[in-house]
């Protein structure tokens, strides 16, 4: 089935080449990093974690979001979601794979990666992170593949797939909880010790996952005909809007608690994100980016508002797809760099993290690798769908 990913038109191959070049740049960045140590990155005393760890909470939520499609589709016989099921499983698999790569990229001792699986310390939440991601990667990839294979053959999916999905439920829901609890052991960082952390990771991951799924289904419709999956897009748009609304509500709750309680660490982090403060705290070269958090927050909120309009959901065209994509990007910043990088900054002053060349390249490279994998899987999905139509 995978050979389908190796056949495509010029546009497809241009896109693939583009991603491959970026992934190659990532490998180059990693070579620099492993030669010179993490000293070559933007990390250091006062900015102990950088842009690698900053991807992990978001990706955990994104991975978990697939359960909201797979469980109703497989276990509750909601066949109207069937077209989205393999896609959502693949999205989860890519998120899990990327998480594992980001964990590996941030380690000082990459040669000891097996230790993450062999030297587990059950009372430490971080210990469960890599094993859970690995299990979820296997589960979601096999679920996606089996769904696709049965569609190709025109048979009903195998029965064992139900067991796979049932197994994926606890593992998938554990991901945001682990991502939150591994931060909760760090008592001096206000943003990380909120009990809202796990629900916020889950809900914004859900909004992002549904938004991306909607984007992919709209893209697929363009090649498979306008009547395809119209209802599906409308449904996904509804899920995205509701999850986005919940996410905004949670952001408000956390911010309200921080400012009403005048909690020093939390308010400092929020001010760093959403006021002029970042302009001074960041190195001069990054000053133009100091507005990024506010822009993304507003863009996400406007997109949620758009998707709440029935007419946008019903039309399900590029507008809805763009809104879905923007919500995903906004959620990425909120539960990624915004949470980790601003959350780690100390009110007593000191350095604010800004990436250097190697960590920037590696991060871009891993994202490109994830996009590459997702493109290939999407291509296979579309080809399977086309070949079914040809029958």
């Amino acid at each position: 089935m995978f050979e389908k990913a190796l056949k495509g038109n010029a546009a497809y191959w241009t896109w693939i080449t583009f991603l491959a070049v970026l992934a190659g740049a990532g490998i180059h960045g990693y070579r620099i990093q492993s030669e010179e140590g993490l000293a070559s990155t933007g990390m250091g005393v006062g900015a102990v974690w950088g842009i690698y760890n900053a991807q992990l909470p978001f990706l955990a939520g994104l991975a978990a979001s697939a359960l909201f499609i797979l469980v109703p589709e497989r276990l509750m016989k909601r066949s109207e979601l069937s077209a989205a099921a393999p896609l959502s499983a693949f999205l989860a698999a890519v998120a899990a794979a990327m998480s594992l790569l980001f964990i590996a990229a941030g380690l000082g001792m990459p040669s000891r990666i097996p230790g993450l699986f062999m030297n587990m310390s059950p009372s430490a939440p971080a210990s469960w992170h890599a094993p859970a991601l690995m299990a979820y990667l296997v589960l979601s990839l096999s679920a996606g593949w089996a769904l696709l294979a049965s569609r190709k053959k025109g048979t009903t999916p195998p029965r064992w797939l139900r067991a796979v999905v049932m197994l994926a439920v606890p593992v998938g829901f554990a991901l945001p909880v682990i991502a939150a609890f591994m931060l909760a052991v760090m008592p001096t960082y206000g943003l990380w010790t909120s009990a809202m952390l796990a629900p916020r990771i889950l809900v914004s991951g859900l909004a992002a996952g549904m938004g991306l799924l909607m984007f992919m289904v709209v893209a697929m419709r363009r090649s498979a005909g306008p009547d395809e999956g119209k209802e599906l897009v409308e449904r996904l748009a509804g899920y995205t809007a509701l999850a986005g609304l919940a996410s905004l509500f949670f952001i408000g709750l956390d911010a309200g608690t921080a400012f009403l309680g005048n909690l020093p660490s939390e308010t400092y982090a929020l001010r760093l994100l959403y006021s002029d403060m970042a302009r001074e705290a960041l190195p001069a070269a990054y000053a133009p980016f100091s507005l990024l958090p506010s822009v993304l927050l507003v863009a996400g909120a406007v997109s949620v508002a758009l998707l709440l309009l029935p007419v946008v959901r019903r039309t399900g065209g590029m507008l809805a797809a763009a809104a879905g994509l923007l919500i995903a990007i906004s959620a990425w910043f909120d539960r990624g760099p915004g949470l980790i990088l601003a959350g780690q900054a100390s009110p007593d002053g000191g350095t604010v993290y800004a990436p250097a060349m190697p960590d920037m390249l590696v991060t871009i490279g891993i994202w490109a690798g994830g996009a590459l994998l997702l493109t290939a899987l999407l291509k296979v999905t579309i080809s399977v769908r086309r070949s079914r139509e040809a029958l």
Binding site: V45, A47, L107, A124, A126
Partner: protein
């Protein structure tokens, strides 16, 4: 009537505040010994800041020398097991002195660094020492963020060229692992006191068994008001300060 009631409550609050004020504490050795969670020996240290003169770095140098601790000039790459810091920054506003006083890993009884380590590479020994296995650490730096005192250092680059006076007595570390004060567990095994406390010319650092009521540390704790760093976090440090 209402006013009197409030006054009474305020008075009670003040009284109980004195009794349980976490900033200053008078520790009775028997309280440690009888605590079921801390049987046996528990190593600890009492630092008498009154005796520690400004500008003296004998303990810091002794530590660096005896454990091959690298010296990096870039503050963003610093590795240190013990350092001196402004007393107020260290112990809070109740500490009157702004003089620099020594700070090291507190070998907490409830260490957050240990809860953060995914590979069990940083762990609490039965004698209270929080130790690191340099051959097991994967360099994820979770422990650095979890330690509320910033007492864990990371080798951002190869530490060996940065060791000023290498000693064959103790292993060197490699790029990519964390390190911190070990309470000189290597010296304790040989019956020696930690480098810092044994070389302090002023006798400002006292090391010993907190669970032994007759030890020098216990006697100091019993006869002085002491402070610990960030006691409100519940980490239960084993390093005490006399102001």
């Amino acid at each position: 009537m209402r006013k009197a009631g409030l006054g009474l409550i305020a008075g009670l609050g003040a009284a109980s505040g004195i009794l349980s004020n976490p900033l200053f504490e008078r520790v009775s050795a028997s309280a440690w010994a009888s605590s079921p969670k801390q049987p046996g020996r528990r190593w600890g240290m009492v630092i008498d800041t009154r005796r520690c003169p400004e500008g003296c770095t004998t303990c810091l140098d002794a530590c660096r020398r005896s454990h091959n601790v690298p010296t990096f000039s870039d503050p963003r790459r610093q590795v240190e097991w013990i350092h001196k810091e402004d007393g107020r920054a260290l112990l809070g506003t109740a500490c009157a002195t702004k003089q620099a006083i020594p700070a090291l890993c507190n070998h907490c009884a409830e260490p957050s660094c240990v809860r953060a380590c995914p590979t069990d590479s940083i762990f609490r020994r039965k004698d209270g020492i929080v130790a690191i296995d340099y051959h097991r650490c994967i360099g994820c730096r979770s422990c650095m963020l979890a330690c509320p005192y910033g007492e864990v250092s990371f080798n951002w680059s190869d530490p060996r060229p940065a060791i000023k006076e290498p000693t064959p007595e103790y292993p060197t570390r490699e790029q990519g692992v964390v390190e911190k004060c070990s309470f000189c567990s290597d010296r304790l095994k040989k019956g020696l006191e930690p480098s810092c406390s044994s070389q302090c010319p002023e006798g400002a650092m006292t090391f010993g068994d907190l669970n032994d009521p007759k030890s020098a540390v216990s006697r100091l704790l019993g006869s002085n008001e002491t402070m610990r760093r960030k006691p409100e976090l519940g980490t239960e440090p084993s390093v005490f300060y006399i102001i």
